[in-house]
Symmetry: none
Subunit: 220 residues, 4 copies
């Protein structure tokens, strides 16, 4: 016979599972149809519950969107911490991060974050999301700057470079189709390669010469 505590933990867990199920469905619907065109009734129906049930787990429609954002941003944050390897060059860390970044952006919560504008939120929630977002932006910028400092990335405007990278990746949420032939991580790879190498053709002379160490080769 299981202890009542276990049961309590189960309940807590079940509740969290349900809460997350709501978030997932919401993220998908918000992404697909937009925040305002998705009614709580829609979300509830897709989960086979009724609207007030959603209010048992969330206080607001806004809060639901906020949590979707936070969830996606949280994963980006986690990914950013995972690349803190002192033995890697800035570029290598950046590239590794961007790989994860793309995977996250092309997931349900990430897509919601990239495709639903935060001005759907009221001032309070919005400010908090903006803070988290600039945290992420800053993280990319820092990696870029680190790369520029250690010579693994060509000198330039780190801020603009970071925006360019984030933009190309975020935009992928617009055109990515799960059914397509490109997997998220393949997209990430191709985009980062493109960014690293640039579009200018490499002359034969340039091949291998003066490039960073083998370790930094992110070609797969």
């Amino acid at each position: 016979m299981p202890s009542p505590w276990k049961r309590l933990a189960d309940r807590k867990h079940e509740r969290d599972v349900k809460r997350e199920a709501v978030l997932l469905q919401a993220a998908r619907s918000f992404t697909a149809r937009g925040f305002h065109r998705t009614s709580l009734d829609d979300i509830a129906a897709e989960l086979h519950v009724t609207k007030p049930t959603l209010y048992y787990y969330f206080t607001n429609k806004e809060q639901i969107l906020y949590e979707c954002f936070r969830f996606g941003l949280g994963r980006l944050e986690d990914a950013s911490r995972a690349q803190d390897r002192a033995d890697w060059s800035g570029r290598r860390r950046l590239v590794a991060y961007l790989r994860r970044y793309a995977e996250i952006i092309l997931s349900d919560f990430g897509g919601c974050m990239a495709l639903v504008r935060d001005n759907e939120l009221g001032p309070g929630y919005r400010a908090r999301i903006k803070r988290l977002k600039s945290e992420i932006d800053r993280r990319i910028r820092d990696l870029v700057a680190a790369g520029m400092a250690d010579g693994s990335i060509a000198r330039g405007d780190p801020k603009l470079t970071a925006f360019a990278l984030a933009g190309a990746l975020n935009w992928a949420a617009h055109w990515y189709r799960p059914a397509g032939e490109l997997s998220p991580s393949r997209i990430a790879q191709l985009l980062t390669n493109l960014f690293v190498r640039g579009m200018a053709p490499r002359s034969s002379a340039r091949r291998g010469a003066g490039r960073s160490t083998r370790t930094d080769r992110e070609t797969t």
Copy 2:
């Protein structure tokens, strides 16, 4: 006494001026607050008219957004046609186009196009917009492909490359602040330079060597 025909033309002109004023205000409001959070009353009030007046110029709220989109897309279309210079390399034509593209994206209608999702439109309008958008996408892709064909752009996936470019530029609409120090055309320049050269540092050996012709240098 002026001829009544003149008057008719004047009227027609005045009507178009007003129509466009509505569109401009709408584009700004839609961009700033989102399509659904902007009521026709808002737009009307900002123009110092009343809501039904808008219906004199447009049949729908949707149509207003549709026309905003079309306006921006039209300018992109125009810009694309302006780069049809057979004597330029694919890359040069691409870079020239991207420069204009960025300027347009960072204008009122362009920003609206980049920031307001087309799923706010009903199926009819939406399909038309999607067609126009893929027209633009195709145009970039074609320039990329042309560059790859004539050797001015490194071989790769033209589609993905085009998406990356469009993404980085479109995303600029999210972070661009007119009050900031970077002008749209400067942003365009920096972004395209970044794309062309890539982030990898150029070895001294590489400088100038084997690079494309002087003509293709887009450094300003």
Copy 3:
């Protein structure tokens, strides 16, 4: 042919007429069924319009109640100003005021004011109503105090006396039935007489003796 200005004035007037009709119906419904049990649909239906029409004239359900209150309070305020006759004793002015007060309290707006609690209003509106109400209270208190000063009213606590008078009159809104035999002004008369004379029996010795001047006799 009427001038367009006339027409504008007519419109304005018509609007005010309609606005007031809404208020009147609202006051009656709020009084009869309570603020929360009266839905805007109820009010609208009773006026043969639809709910959004009410929003054309008022911004809020709360505002409707607020205006009902204000309307009633405004009439009390007017009545209070009408009794500013320097040649009358305090008591005579008080009695005259109370007569009007009762008539107003037993009207639609007055009843609403007496029977619907102001805590139905949000803090903003409520504070304003409270201010108006204390204005009225103060007015009665001042008349009582004036009477005490000029000897036409027995000395005592003016505040408590004022509350007692207002209470007895306001409470009449609870039991008054328009169909009953007592008219509002008759009720006012009887209640004020009772207040003036008190319940203690008048000994024959007291009759006429030592009473205040003939002018102050409010016996009808």
Copy 4:
């Protein structure tokens, strides 16, 4: 080891204690914020329990209000019975009753009764409350009539006199502040004195003369 019967009695008692605690909290909340603006969740939270618990003690939100009313009315009823002293004049009995009446009205349940309108209740409960209320009204009226019959109260309309008295006392629930300087019984005393003596100034000739017997003096 205590007998199980004792335990049952304890339980019963405990249940009643809790039931009454719910009623008291409800009465306070209903009085402060109104019936509809007080949710069962509010009441439950203030009691540190959850909403369904309330349903263990009551079948309805309405029933809770009904019981609050009944509780207050019950105390008025009790008070009325306590004044049945054949050796006292009608007026003295009336005055004694009013003293208790005021104390009750200025208590939690009494205030609820005076401030929350019975039209919040459905027809069934409401009818029962109205019956109890008219019982109370009738009781005051009877005392007034008795006083008029035995000469201790000046002749007049007993019904209207009773309403005036009840009104002035009930209304005190609106303005009474427990923190103020006037205690409920002092308020009762002042109000009844005012009613007995009236506002008209007593001429010196009248002092002491022809007034009712010492016994009837209710000055404290």
